[in-house]
């Protein structure tokens, strides 16, 4: 009887969660639609304009084809209907299904952003922890200055400087692109080739986040190190390494995880610039081009996919909280 009741409760929770998710997605989809359409610009006119001339009939045909001749609310309703059926529509400009376009570009962006994210998180927290543990020392000052520099450096400038040093001057790395075009390579060679192409874009993209995590981790470690439970651990005679790993790091990571969760979505924003500088064939550039062309279906599709990714990341962040700090599970319960 109790088992049936708890199963029903779980089912109810899942249903509630799913309904909330659908509601959130619909609200986001509506907001995206309004936002995108608020910008001045007519996709038909952009396309006709790029042809160096236009004709009223051709413009009308294009507007009809895109459904832009229908009232605004009808267009919104069509859009929401499509979202519910997971139909992302058809690109005005490229005349291909939006989902195909996104899936084509998503792997390159995920490879770039996830690598940059992991690298920034790993190196940033390590540097931050070392600086925090040695607060006031030369190491701390050095790390702090370094992270401040990285934080203040514009992403595109850093990218160009890396190209100047490693491609133009030293000739070590390919200046742009995802892989060597038209080269006959084995699978392993291809992996190395892509990795080589990734080095500079990843470094550029990771730099600012690395700085953020390092600064955050440093201050978090300093704050935690003055807490009573650390004093108690020391008084109990625990080994310093155990205090650091088992008590300080675990507690200091909570704000870093919060910020990292929030910024994972923002990485795609940074990818727009990096993908442009390094001719990286990813989603960032697709987004940028869709904004310029007012390719509404592509824009709305990308925003929707990104929104879902952000929602999923928030969920992951929540789970990680509970792993790091079991008290949160108890509090939530």
């Amino acid at each position: 009887m109790t088992g049936t009741r708890s199963a029903a409760r779980i089912a109810l929770l899942i249903v509630t969660w799913a309904m909330r998710l659908v509601a959130v997605i619909l609200v986001i989809a509506t907001f995206n639609f309004v936002l995108v359409r608020a910008a001045p610009g007519d996709p038909a006119m952009v396309m006709a304009g790029q042809s160096g001339g236009a004709d009223p009939k051709i413009l009308d045909d294009l507007r009809k084809e895109y459904g832009l001749d229908k009232p605004y609310l009808v267009q919104l309703a069509t859009h929401l209907g499509r979202v519910l059926t997971l139909d992302l529509g058809y690109s005005y400009r490229q005349r291909r299904p939006v989902l195909d376009l996104i899936l084509e570009r998503l792997p390159a962006t995920l490879l770039l952003t996830l690598t940059a994210f992991c690298l920034a998180l790993l190196i940033g927290t390590t540097l931050g922890a070392l600086a925090g543990l040695a607060a006031g020392s030369i190491v701390d000052t050095l790390f702090t200055v370094l992270s401040l520099l990285l934080y203040a450096t514009p992403v595109f400038w850093l990218g160009l400087m890396l190209v100047l040093v490693f491609s133009v001057t030293l000739g070590w790395l390919p200046p742009f692109g995802y892989e060597t075009i038209n080269a006959k390579m084995t699978a392993i060679e291809r992996v190395f080739d892509i990795a080589k192409h990734m080095i500079m874009p990843v470094m550029s993209l990771a730099a600012i986040y690395l700085a953020i995590y390092a600064r955050l981790m440093r201050s978090s470690i300093i704050e935690v190190s003055h807490q009573d439970f650390i004093k108690t651990a020391r008084a109990k005679g625990l080994a310093p390494a155990r205090i650091v790993v088992g008590h300080m790091l675990r507690n200091a990571l909570v704000p870093v995880v919060t910020v990292a969760g929030m910024q994972a979505g923002a990485l795609v924003g940074g990818a727009v610039v990096i993908e442009t500088v390094f001719a990286w064939p990813g989603l960032g550039r697709l987004t940028f081009e869709a904004v310029l062309q007012r390719d509404y279906p592509v824009l709305l599709g990308i925003f929707l996919i990104l929104s879902i990714i952000v929602i999923a990341l928030n969920l992951v962040t929540d789970l990680i909280y509970r792993l790091i700090d079991p008290r949160m599970t108890t509090e939530a319960a």
Binding site: Q50, A54, G282
Partner: protein, 525 residues
């Protein structure tokens, strides 16, 4: 020399002559040309998109009946010959035999008629206007096409370059929704190169079309168009040899200079004669004070075009004297000249009663910066500085491509910069900017400034219909004089885009359409 030695010498000479010819021509087969395409085209079918990158790339895949030399005279494209009836109403084209599409099917006169009269009239704004003049188009045999016009149209022979009338396969498009045809992704044309692979965001890979009808062509095995969105990265790609050819604005004007001295590179501004990019400062003639001719004339006096060319375009342009480019047919340089003179400008402004206020300002105008590259922003700053000397305060307003198109197309602007291709003949590329019938709200690249002069309308119309060249020249000379006096827009420069390429490649520029050419005759030495 005995008889044996003489015979040996003659034999050697006999062998050397053909070898010598081969070497002199040097048209060796094989090789890859890496170049740039920017921005990435949305489709490769030039019948459906006429954006410049689409045409550059699509020009290798799709062909038309004619090509045009640097002198803008027609040359054989897919048509080996053509005839015009004495009344100027019937145009008969004879096609080369043996032309095939990339899918192996033959290209015949039926494909030409279908493309021009069915497809392009629905999808191609310029072609739609050109072929609206055709009363009937027939294909009496597979190699003959006959166009009968409703009334004479002098530049009709200028409507058949690969950008204006690309030929698409009837067997693929007939009875389908042209723009949505799934075969659009395959881009089936008749050109010397066919599509092998298009990795979106990365590159487009073209390979030789083995069934190409021109003997021995194409010489190259493949052409790879790399998509490199950042200007600095594009310049770097040329510098380090990743690409061997750049065209149009692949390299920003301020970067061009340094490539002129790079030893392995060839620099030319030839190959743009057909397009003749003509630039001007556009003034909304509906809005005061630009509705007064004297104000527009004052603006002409305030722009130091030589300085603009030197400082903003680094010498990659020529000063424009009026509405017709010096590269376009019927250009007349004997028109009123507006020398750079702040005194003359201020006198005109005073005469129209636009006196400076207490702060020294006569008026404030908004300048919508075209979002087509850094050079436009610099040009805007140049205008602001120039006009401030006469008390005209120019406020630069930034926007993106869609915002600019909407504002200019809907006449919601005061000043902006504009540029149009002249397409070899004033009737095709010039009249559209000045005739009253082309004042169409919501249509970009029409007479957006709203200039209207019945005499100008009449002269342009008469010149388009006249078949006598001397008569046309007389009419166009007259219209140039009127327009230069009226200043509907302030013409600034005839842009001279560069084509920069590795010296190992030959025949890169062979006609007036330059980088839009098929590249069938390009070879690597």
């Amino acid at each position: 020399m005995n008889r044996r030695e003489f015979t040996a010498a003659m034999l050697a000479a006999g062998a050397a002559i053909p070898l010598g010819i081969t070497r002199a021509a040097g048209q060796t087969k094989g090789g890859t040309l890496n170049t740039i395409i920017q921005p990435e085209p949305p489709v490769l079918v030039t019948a459906f998109n006429q954006q410049q990158p689409t045409l550059t790339l699509g020009g290798k895949i799709y062909e038309s009946l004619l090509k045009y030399g640097a002198d803008l005279k027609p040359m054989p494209g897919m048509a080996q010959s053509w005839e015009i009836s004495p009344d100027g109403l019937t145009y008969t084209f004879k096609l080369f035999p043996g032309i095939t599409f990339h899918d192996g099917k033959p290209m015949t006169s039926e494909d030409v008629v279908f493309s021009c009269m069915k497809v392009l009239t629905e999808t191609h704004p310029r072609a739609r206007q050109n072929f609206a003049r055709v009363a009937s188009a027939e294909a009496p045999d597979p190699l003959t096409v006959v166009f009968k016009l409703k009334q004479p149209f002098a530049p009709f022979l200028g409507c058949f370059d690969c950008t204006s009338a690309p030929i698409v396969p009837k067997h693929i498009y007939e009875g389908t929704e042209f723009r949505k045809n799934p075969m659009n992704d395959k881009a089936i044309g008749t050109g010397p190169f066919k599509l092998k692979e298009w990795v979106r965001g990365s590159h487009v890979h073209l390979v030789r079309h083995d069934g190409y009808y021109r003997k021995d062509e194409p010489y190259l095995d493949e052409i790879i168009y790399r998509i490199i969105p950042d200007g600095a990265s594009r310049a770097l790609a040329l510098e380090n040899g990743t690409v061997q050819l750049v065209q149009w604005s692949d390299v920003e004007f301020f970067d061009v200079q340094r490539f002129k001295s790079q030893k392995n590179l060839e620099f030319t501004t030839k190959g743009y004669e057909y397009f003749a990019p003509h630039q001007w400062l556009e003034m909304n003639n509906r809005v005061a004070p630009m509705n007064d001719k004297r104000f527009r004339q004052a603006i002409m006096h305030l722009i130091d075009r030589d300085a603009m060319n030197k400082r903003i375009y680094f010498g990659n342009a020529k000063v424009a004297t009026g509405p017709i480019s010096s590269k376009t047919r019927f250009y007349d340089g004997k028109v009123k000249r507006y020398e750079f003179s702040i005194e003359k400008a201020t006198a005109l402004l005073d005469e129209m009663g636009l006196k400076p206020g207490a702060n020294g300002k006569r008026t404030e105008l908004k300048y919508l910066v075209p979002p087509y590259g850094e050079v436009y922003q610099r040009a805007g700053e140049f205008f602001r500085q120039s006009f401030s000397k006469a008390g005209i305060d120019l406020v630069l307003v930034g926007t993106d491509m869609a915002g600019w198109a909407e504002k200019v197309g809907n006449w919601d602007y005061e000043m902006t910069q504009n540029l149009l291709y002249q397409l070899g003949d004033p009737a095709l590329g010039v009249a559209r900017t000045y005739i009253s019938s082309n004042i169409k709200k919501g249509i970009l690249f029409s007479n957006t400034q709203g200039y209207s002069n019945p005499e100008v309308d009449r002269l342009f119309e008469e010149a388009a219909l006249a078949l006598d060249e001397a008569k046309r020249q007389e009419l166009y000379s007259k219209v140039q004089q009127i327009l230069v006096e009226d200043v509907p827009v302030a013409w600034t420069l005839e842009l001279e885009y560069p084509i920069i390429y590795d010296k190992a490649f030959k025949n890169i520029v062979t006609s007036g359409i330059g980088s839009h050419e098929t590249f069938g005759s390009v070879y690597k030495s």
